[in-house]
Symmetry: none
Subunit: 154 residues, 2 copies
DNA sequence: ATAATGAAGGTCAATGATGGTCAAAAATCA
DNA sequence: TGATTTTTGACCATCATTGACCTTCATTAT
């Protein structure tokens, strides 16, 4: 669907492997050649789609025999995971970041898709109807933190 | 009926596709070219004829390979009941009356107990952290209405 | 051991490709 | 006519692509 640009295609390719492998090691220029793009585009894809916020850990080594390793973090320790999430939310948060957080909660199976959708509906600017954007983002952050905190005890 | 102006024609074109497809992804400038109008007219059509009130969900992405996706939400009856509930909520609502509303939604099976708990967690005074009680009640009402409105579809 | 060389990966800023906003002008409606 | 809706276009924001230049590491030659 939304795979018209090369970055999306590369992202899908890598995530497909990560769905089965839990960790991959790639050669930047090889992958770039495979998708007919410049090597630095691989960095772009990683920087925008494999952030720690999104649950990925990336390491690399330069020089001969260099590599880029992408690891999908597993949230074995739920409490720590939620702590990190709350820290990431902070005291103010935009709607798009909110949606990313909810998406993560879906992936870790702490929320169902329907639940996330219900919550997203309420956290919209349209729903909140708070003129001052900063106030809106603060309220959103407060509620999101309350939600995530509440998830600890279920 | 069949509009005389371009906006109506574009609306009809998109809705005709949506009658069979449930979701479409368009390229703004392509569609604009197709109908001989400026790209921003597509935004106008969407803003006036594909609102959430009318049961549509619109997402978009800018940049290379960008798109506008329009999704037709599936309707669920209960309309009558939801209308009354929204009216009952009004423009401000206390936490206890909020909890009663959620309880009703559980009883009509529009929400599960877990969903209601999650929502209640977020709608608390502690969660909102808004000093001015009246502002808090207004925000709560706004969100609750957005939620109930969202329950019209699924 | 040291220096030179080649083989990775990293950064960043310019450019291109989309979509978004807003307000004025034009058309239409009541 | 006055109000509302539609049409346009100038200007903006965001995302993607590319390439020149930089840093790091391993290997080879001296």
């Amino acid at each position: 669907m939304a795979g018209q640009n090369i970055s999306d295609i590369i992202e899908a390719y890598l995530k497909q492997i990560l769905a089965a492998e839990q960790q991959i090691e790639i050669n930047r220029s090889e992958v770039a050649a495979q998708f007919n793009c410049v090597p630095s585009q691989i960095n772009y894809v990683i920087k925008t789609r494999f952030t720690t916020q999104q649950g990925y850990l990336v390491e690399s080594k330069r020089g001969g025999g260099g590599y880029i390793r992408i690891e999908k973090m597993q949230f074995c320790d739920q409490d720590h995971y939620l702590d990190r999430l709350i820290k990431a939310i902070g005291t103010q948060i935009t709607l798009s970041r909110t949606l990313m957080a909810l998406q993560q909660l879906i992936e870790t199976e702490l929320l169902s898709e329907r639940e996330a959708r219900l919550l997203a509906t309420m956290l919209t600017d349209e729903a909140l109807q708070i003129n001052d954007q900063r106030v809106a983002e603060t309220v959103r952050a407060n509620m999101l933190v309350a939600l995530v905190d509440g998830l600890r005890y279920r």
